[in-house]
Symmetry: D2
Subunit: 440 residues, 4 copies
């Protein structure tokens, strides 16, 4: 930390201060060692800080430029700037006391004039990460390759009309996967940022889907070859930057994984803002991924329900988080996944400590949501009424139907029998909504 | 037609009058016997009039009641009213000279006090249809059962928490499938109107998906048992009436059909308004269904891009239709499917002849779109540039990659080679958009 | 209550039970006599139960019919049914211990064969209301006329292309305004349910706006003539049932009121679900109405952010409510307005007591939001930072600019002066969001 | 053109070639000298090429960087680059044979280290423009100042919490208005890019609206002082980059102009993409601006109905354009306004000639739309049925109502009279939609 000794105002890691703490930089709910339902909060939540939004983004948007003026963005020696950035990053990891971080290749290390140079840069920064991680708490939740920023990828990487660009992408992914493996990454992510189209007028949809299937299959093979243990994660997103992205939502990704026989090796990394852009609640996407057996990890953030683009705000909405965590814990919680802060401070939040406030506020909101979820599960507040509502399906006739012991004709005959007139029962939605409000 | 002798102002079937026809009730583009790309327009387009919107809906909306005051909606003898409705329906089929119609069980025949009565009513109306069809041109594109209007289905039919309601639905579907079979229906449709949820608080998502898979499987088995030749069609819709419907969009339905091993027997019936409610263009849904091999039929209508509910307006947008039909014909056109007018006149269109104007206008718009599509295909206006854009994938290295002859390492090594620096090429979107404008 | 003696399960009014109350039909937060910031909670919140959703709606939606099977909806004597409905309504008012209710003319009394009959029916029910109100706590927050359900209004009431329909609407409004006056209504509402258009193809926009201006002016004149003391309230809604409604949002209504010189007599009744359909947050609409001096009353409910129609769910979202009430109290709170439950239980909530659970849950959520808001105001949690952020505008140069003492040239000259280079300051959004989370 | 002699492939201006022209760079519909309804097409349409999208934007988006690699974007001498850019711009104006262009201060000239330097740069480029315009056809439709890109404006310009930033903006606007005046600009535009908020938590809404009113008033005063003849134009946009923009839509701007007494000097510049982001059709916004007397000019482009951000695509949709131009011509057409191509080629359209194809295609689509509109007006295809529909309002009773000769009581009494029962008439929407299809 010699180079940038005073970037943050805070010097000591943020600590738990109890619900009534006056210090704005104390946790009020995130007591990491508190055990609920058999696990420490830290092990439930598995927070990760992301590199791109917090250390790489200069604060620009489509209508305006840099606002943050980070010292490490202004210089001429790209590798020196990358090292300075790493110093700041690990300082934030320390201050937040988070167990994980995440990065893209180009977040960590500058692109060179050739792929060979880019890979060399990545490996050099990989060495620095390795050294820093040896003496720090933080571990790598996942790594990934950025296959969408450079102009060569403007029409996609795996789904590019040019097989040479597919090939270039393969080169980047091998390097990123291998450095992720070397750093003990628990997962490897493939976000299809531009795997989609701008217009169908120039697009061969079927061919592009097959290309994407091939690409992911190649990565799966390589992962096994090098002995990478974690799952691959693909990340649903419906649109933006492209008009349509092939990994639209959980259901679409599930169909894709089935089609290309990838269900065994690939899981999903689900993001709140991507969920709502696809017209789904965050809870829906998590619940569906669990129902389909493809749940992997979460990019924790929030979108603005009234805006049509990815705002990637820090998640602060406790009632929403409580329901998501309810389903998460009910399904067994994270294995290799975690809560990655794919969230960015607003471009007007230009003070260095805004980065800390944002993470602390969201970690606290998550902790509070998780505690509420645990209480609901303990009380069977929701699971009880649901079990009761579907009781008919666990009784004998319901089981016979599901076991394939009834034909359509069997059922139709029964329905025609005299006096058969099943009556609906209340869904009790408002009662359940009020009930949840007692917990959050 | 004794009972309702003068409902429509028009007496003779609408005929083709040429582009400059002055008669508002002449076709300007739909010259049914004109042959393009080897088929008559009538055989390309396979228009069907639907029963529910055109003969059953009284003109109500959530904020207002009946506006149409159809004579057959006002009476005390439900079967007599159903017969009068059938008379009017077949008169409209005749006036429009359409080759097909479609209906739900409860559109055609009144529900009785018991399922047995309902089935008897349906079969009695089936007899009338059979007789009318013997002397008319019109055939049955598809039949279906309404499993969403009655309060027993308020929480779904196949996905109901109560297996007895699943059973009741089975009774309705058997009868509707059998009458469809008897009438020579070319397909049978299952629209999951309330197969979804209002709130996850009271829902067991995984269980409901399994129920839906079971239900469709039962219908497939029964279809084979009775020798029904056509495919089953499920119909993607993302939401409305429920908050979330399981058949969200084409990609979701595809994943569902794979999961429950139904790809062989079930195809999709795609609707424009449902597509845009799911955040997709109509062309996207059609192209995707074709790419995935699940294309079946179309519900032709249009939604309002700025409204969030199913407006089911008559399709009038020639440029949109031209692109959809471009992909449709490129993929081989309809086999058992067709263009079903799942479209309703506005509730202010209270004159009987508004029904005729709406269909004629939309049939003409479809014909015009199809002619434009045929011209584009003849000229390879779009297929040519697309083939050129992906030429690399039909060359040897592209083929080797897709054939699995390259590992990630092979590709990565090639990417690292000196001088490997593939450059992007223009997507030419505006040029192609202008080009399409020459055809529409 | 002879006729319907056991409709609700509950017999006694819901009472405050404290935060840990086990009884599901106790208030946990709504302690009506608790005084915060100088007023009792009941006087802050001024809850009203609405007639239409709770007593008139049978549970239908565009894809399905009645689910509730209310006894008072099934009969042949319309006035007897209306009286039975009134009994149930006043029983619910009693059980909820609410200070207000609201109704449309046709909610309360059946339409007759002529307007004269309809008015007579309304006045007869008005007599019953008057008698019941004499011995009950409940008062009338506002009355209104339904100018959108009957087919005569299918193309609008005031904005109808036919002046005779404008005239008919005038007849309805006079009667409804006068019965509202007689019952001591604190406001009179004009919701422009179909004052809008379905298509511009058949619409004279300018003429219709002028008609609407004329109509509201007529009502203003009549209100003064009969000595009605309360304000008129118009209610912003952007769309549904029509494609476009003239009272789109707060800003649009404000422009309309200015244009037709109605600002003095007309205020706004703002609804959460209408706000989000217009692309605004509820808080935005409330804050804007206050800024523009047109705030009147609130229709308290919530929409689903992911659905494009008016779901009118019961408001349960405490964090959202807290911010709205923060601005409400900061602006002085209600004068004649209140929180009207323009909210409906889901159509699956078919048990009578679901009506009670819904209101109790939402009243509690509102109370909790209000308590949080009061705490934030007491602590100046938000008002403090805002005042500090704009401090420059209360200093001399800022005041001089706003007072018109600086020309553009004055300011430009100052900006050109050497060394003038104002720097941006952090907006601190995440810090403020975290801060709010401490209160809710 | 010495510096960049071969940027475009085309050398000669695009000319009209007739509907069947084979040359992709010929106009098929835009025959500029063709006279319809008394005016040449060029004078109806008044096309303008914009500087920012076509010459300044490098092809980046929120997920990727530069794709275009324009030669004038790569250099070290900012003024030399600006001059090279001007050469290319005027070459495109010549090739397209457009009568107008538009620019922001910072599009044309680089920002300096101080405002004084920026103004000097702008004036120097103004000199170059003046010289080029002397020998070219192109004139200035409007100029404007960019008050949203620089970080100083991150929290707004006129609505900034800091009056010094308001002051800085005044300095920029004076210079831009004066150079616009010097170059004979026909209008001056004020787009409130960041006049809005990110969060209400830190915002004083009322104060910011007053600031905006003050700012526009200052510009109006200065415009009069320097003798600038054209109107000021404000530009409605609902959101993006900010969460909420004060100039949300036409209705909101109208209310604003009334509130701050600006209706006389300020009109609106309406954009298709902004209209749909606000939930309105383009036609609605144009028709409303005309109805309210605030119509000024058009930013012609198109958004994607399924995307939630400003895509600014080139307008190619003839049916939509035809209806907009129908209303435009009906209202008298442009006076000082025109059709400004605030449209950008896709970032994948990296060939220089893509810029030409895009403009030519859209100019042709506009011309075709205008010709269709003129035909509809000539035939009174829409104006006839509309006049007939509202005939009651031009008859005596309708006029009496609108003239204030009827009180609410007068009308109510008439409505109560025996036999008064006005019946609705068909809105004929589908008939009219079909009719329009004959023209487009």
């Amino acid at each position: 930390m010699n180079a940038l000794p005073k970037f943050f105002g805070a010097a000591d890691p943020v600590a738990y201060g109890g619900k009534d703490a006056k210090n704005p930089l104390a946790f009020r709910w995130y007591d990491k060692d508190r055990v609920v339902r058999g696990k420490r909060l830290e092990d439930h939540l598995r927070f990760a800080v992301c590199y791109w939004h917090s250390f790489c983004w200069p604060g620009g948007d489509p209508f305006g430029g840099e606002t943050f003026l980070r010292p490490w963005h202004h210089g001429t020696d790209a590798m020196a700037m990358a090292r300075a950035k790493a110093d700041i990053a690990f300082e934030l990891f320390r201050l937040l006391d988070v167990p994980f971080f995440t990065f893209h290749d180009v977040d960590a290390a500058p692109e060179g004039a050739t792929l060979a140079e880019s890979v060399a840069n990545l490996n050099a920064i990989g060495d620095i990460f390795e050294k820093k991680m040896a003496s720090a708490k933080v571990r790598l939740l996942w790594g990934t390759a950025n296959l969408f920023t450079h102009r060569r990828y403007m029409a996609g990487a795996a789904t590019n009309p040019d097989p040479d660009i597919f090939t270039y992408a393969a080169g980047q992914v091998r390097a990123a996967l291998e450095v992720t493996n070397r750093l003990g990454g628990q997962n490897y992510v493939l976000w299809g940022g531009r795997e989609g189209y701008e217009t169908l007028l120039n697009t061969d949809l079927k061919r592009e889907l097959d290309q994407l299937g091939r690409f992911v299959s190649l990565v799966v093979e390589h992962k096994h070859k090098i002995g990478f243990k974690g799952p691959l994660l693909i990340e649903p997103k419906p649109k933006e930057p492209t008009k349509h992205q092939y990994d639209f939502d959980v259901a679409t990704c599930y169909g894709f994984l089935q089609r290309y026989d990838l269900l065994k090796d690939v899981k999903l990394n689900i993001e709140q803002n991507h969920a709502i852009l696809a017209g789904h609640s965050f809870q829906h996407e998590v619940a569906l991924a669990q129902a389909l057996g493809v749940f992997g990890s979460l990019d924790i953030n929030r979108g603005d329900d009234l805006l049509g683009w990815d705002t990637d705000q820090f998640a602060m909405n406790v009632p929403e988080l409580a329901l998501v965590f309810h389903d998460l814990i009910k399904g067994g919680g994270f294995t290799t996944g975690g809560l990655n802060f794919d969230a960015k401070i607003r471009r007007q939040s230009i003070d260095p400590d805004d980065l800390i406030h944002a993470h602390v506020g969201s970690m606290d909101a998550c902790a509070r949501g998780l505690l509420a979820a645990a209480d609901m599960l303990d009380d069977e507040a929701l699971t009880g009424p649901v079990a009761e509502r579907y009781a008919g399906w666990t009784a004998s006739e319901g089981q016979a139907i599901m076991a394939g012991k009834r034909s359509l004709a069997d059922l139709a005959d029964r329905a025609l029998a005299s006096g058969f007139d099943p009556q609906p029962r209340s869904g009790r939605q408002e009662y359940l909504e009020s009930l949840v409000n007692r917990y959050v």
